[in-house]
């Protein structure tokens, strides 16, 4: 699904990593680990098409893709450090706004059931500013589930999630892989994903 050849990353004048090669098959996941500052976020932003690699190339379904390429934008769901939520909008409005922005067609019923399943059903009419950090993360999980994108790029997805939230995330990722999706995750915490489907990539090792 997603291939990376001889990728190098630079942040400012600092070389972060070079010669990174891996392949994420449909139904497989890559978990990126490594100490702080070794370029996990930089790598994930390149895969999402937000920044250009210093060297090397990224291929989606065999075709080389440039940053912000339309094929890449149509295929990738990216969840970064920042939750992309508006304090003024309710949980439901935030979710619907983000899903629409990504071209999603889920109706109000699908939105509600997605919010129910991340245990935010009863808080869907609260403005996002009164939600806790973990609850805000859960809106992001509901978004992922509604987007129908074959490639998930998740940067530190477990941040602020409680045990139940982490379990939910693992279930979501498993469902996604079962459907033939691919995922790249940067995380320090074991998610309990099936080892047979997961490759591990260590940066700065």
């Amino acid at each position: 699904m997603l291939e990376v050849h001889d990728l190098a990353g630079r942040r400012g004048h600092a070389d972060l990593f070079a010669g990174v090669d891996f392949r994420v098959p449909a139904g497989g996941a890559v978990v990126v680990t490594g100490p702080n500052g070794t370029g996990k976020t930089t790598l994930l932003r390149m895969l999402a098409g937000l920044s250009a690699p210093a060297a090397g190339e990224i291929r989606l379904k065999g075709h080389k893709v440039a940053p912000f390429a339309p094929e890449l934008r149509a295929a990738v769901a990216y969840a970064g450090h920042l939750p992309a939520l508006k304090d003024e909008l309710t949980a439901e409005e935030n979710l619907s706004s983000l899903v629409r922005l990504a071209g999603g067609t889920a109706g109000p019923d699908a939105m509600r059931s997605a919010l129910d399943r991340v245990a935010l059903g009863r808080r869907r009419s609260l403005p996002a500013r009164v939600l806790s950090a973990g609850q805000r993360r859960r809106i992001g999980l509901a978004r992922l589930a509604l987007l129908e994108r074959p490639v998930w790029i998740l940067d530190e997805p477990v941040t602020a999630l409680d045990a139940a939230g982490i379990g939910l995330l693992a279930t979501l990722v498993h469902d996604h892989l079962d459907r033939g999706g691919a995922a790249v995750l940067a995380t320090h915490q074991a998610l309990g994903l099936e080892p047979s489907r997961v490759q591990s990539l260590v940066l700065g090792g």
Partner: protein, 247 residues
Amino acid sequence: MSGMALRSPAPAAFEAAAGRTADGALAGLRWAAARDLRLALRSRAELGVQLLFYVIVVALFPLSMTPERNLLATMGPGVLWVAALLASLLSLPRLFATDHADGTLEQIALSPYPLEALVAGKVLAHWLTTGLPVALLAPLLALQYYLDAGSVAVLVAGLLLGTPILSLLGAVGAALTLGLRGGGGSLLALLILPLYVPVLIFGAGAVDAARAGLGATANLSLLGAGLALALVGTPFAAAAAVRIALD
């Protein structure tokens, strides 16, 4: 709860999603405009402050000089235009900066909709919440400056043509100053005010020409041409600047 699965779309859904091309420039524009308008309505106080600023700046000048009819009528159009520029400038830093800070700008840039269309939608919302009210308030404020009905009509027509240019050019400046420490507000002013000068000259000039009996058509036509040019060019420039800011 952890065992609950979210409803899974069929595997074919992936193909459908990938095949759905970004045909929706209009849909993107509508999304951005509707969302920004909704956010603006949720923080009405902020909108009110901007308009109040415009009203007060315009009201200060007659208080600071001899209230002589002719002098005020001569100065009025210029003062109203300068205040309109400042009001537009005041709200510009928020155009992209809040979206940049909370991560929404990343999702906007990764949307399947063309970024240019999304940027244009944001500019449209900015104009509807700043430029349009400024133009609509102008006849009321013009009373202080003893402008006759004909001049007021030209003033409003000029503002309706000129304020969208301010929003469009301002979007490029706002996108270019993204990510600067301290919000880049003063740099934005330095960058964008010189570009506002032609709009100011033709806008205020239109009213002067009308008062002198020369007709405002030439000035208003130039503003119209400027608007057409800005509509075509600035969304691309602003979108490119947003992509650079995210890299």
